[in-house]
Point group: C2
Chain length 258, copies 2
């Protein structure tokens, strides 16, 4: 069993965008209100979040999250990490610590940004107490195998994550990605559900465009694909009509039981 709840499906600026009066930013459809991209993953024996953007506190309250056993980071851009401090409410009951899984580069940036939390001399009782785990290959949380998938996203070192249980590649989450390297494509073969960040309609130097996302979904042909990390280029209702039947736009609060 693996369930994914989309805590946020927006880009770095979210939707609505501050001071924007476009149709999508003025939309009353709750599916057009997008906090910064993040997912909450629940399995039979373990629960984790992927990324903690600035609005993580609001996302955790909204989804009524009671348990976070670990945090996985795709990368350390501002829209993916600035809510880190709010993990303080999820420390382990025994140690107060929360395991953080990330690349060397991301761990270094988290350490730089939240130095008070990584330093036992400046970390007071009640502060978030991270337990860093360097991700340099597949690892497990409970009965789920997690395969990091390095992807191209400008100058940042970024991971997508593939979640496998009992020999099945249940779902892959690639939020910030221009292209997937050949080894990654190989790793993604046979994935049942694919989640791709496609923030814009026009080609973008560091992100997959909408059309590139459709092409990748066609190439990998998972059963279902969800697009996330969406800008105000996309009004939910209108965009859904453009998409092939097995591709959908994710929205904040959407839960997938896989």
């Amino acid at each position: 069993m693996l369930a994914i709840t989309f805590l946020g499906t927006g880009t770095s600026m979210g939707v609505p965008v501050i001071r924007c009066s476009c149709e999508v930013c003025q939309s009353k459809d709750p599916r057009d209100q997008r906090l910064r991209s993040s997912i909450y993953v629940q399995t039979a024996d373990c629960s984790w979040v992927v990324d903690t953007g600035a609005e993580f506190r609001i996302q955790a309250l909204r989804a009524n999250i009671q348990r976070v056993d670990a945090v996985l980071y795709t990368h350390s851009h501002a829209d993916h990490v600035m809510g880190f401090d709010d993990l303080r409410r999820f420390g382990s009951v025994n140690s107060g610590r929360i395991p953080i899984y990330a690349s060397k580069d991301t761990l270094q940036n988290l350490h730089r940004i939240f130095s008070y939390a990584f330093n036992s001399e400046t970390r007071f009782a009640g502060y978030v107490h991270p337990e860093p785990h360097l991700v340099d290959g597949a690892f497990s949380l409970g009965n789920t195998e997690i395969h990091p998938i390095p992807v191209e996203h400008g100058r940042a070192h970024v991971f997508g994550f593939l979640f496998r249980q009992n020999g099945r590649s249940l779902v892959a989450y690639l939020s910030d990605c221009k292209t997937v390297y050949p080894e990654g494509l190989e790793c993604l073969e046979g994935v049942e559900t694919l989640i791709l960040g496609t923030p814009c309609r026009r080609p973008h130097p560091t992100h997959m465009s909408f059309a590139e996302g459709v092409a990748l979904a066609e190439r990998l042909s998972p059963r279902r694909t969800f697009f996330t990390h969406l800008s105000h280029d996309f009004g939910h209702a209108a965009t859904e009509k453009e998409l092939p039947g097995n591709i959908s736009l994710a929205y904040d609060g959407l839960r997938l039981d896989l």
Copy 2:
């Protein structure tokens, strides 16, 4: 003319607190929903925010802020700065820059945390483009004199701010403060409206308690006092009944026309 809108009135954990089932955290009273402390100040010729906590994007949308000419920082603790990136939507129409007023210590920490934004090599078009202003004494924004008031708050270098117009000390904002130094008390004499952070009922090592806030208000005897930076110790309706008539609890969205 000077108007203050409370963008947030909560402590570092906000209210409700994640995973808390206390009466205040379960309250349906909107005045018991507190985002991280911040104010928006509007004058005839200039508008600014004090602090940008993680929820700044949501606060700016909620208050329909269309203009931010400058940002003042009290200090660089996580609950006061982590929404900095969302200032990108308020850069000056001409230069894209946004003036940032803070102490040396706070500017250094902002530079460390948001290094990509301070570095012209890593700051892409559309990113927040800060223009740092070191605060080492009084300065002006439009027709408002701004007096920084160094206060004691643990190991951090923290400012309160006094806003003066036409020889009147209209309002002072001291969000994070254990004690005000004698020079600060002198500077605050005659202040008409006082805003004090009083996060808790019990004595706290780095913050003013509720009782200490009441004592300071009595000593300075402004016309009105508002308490902010409030934890879940305080249910709005019940706490208001305990307070002297000239002291009130602030709440998110409250606007003062001074």
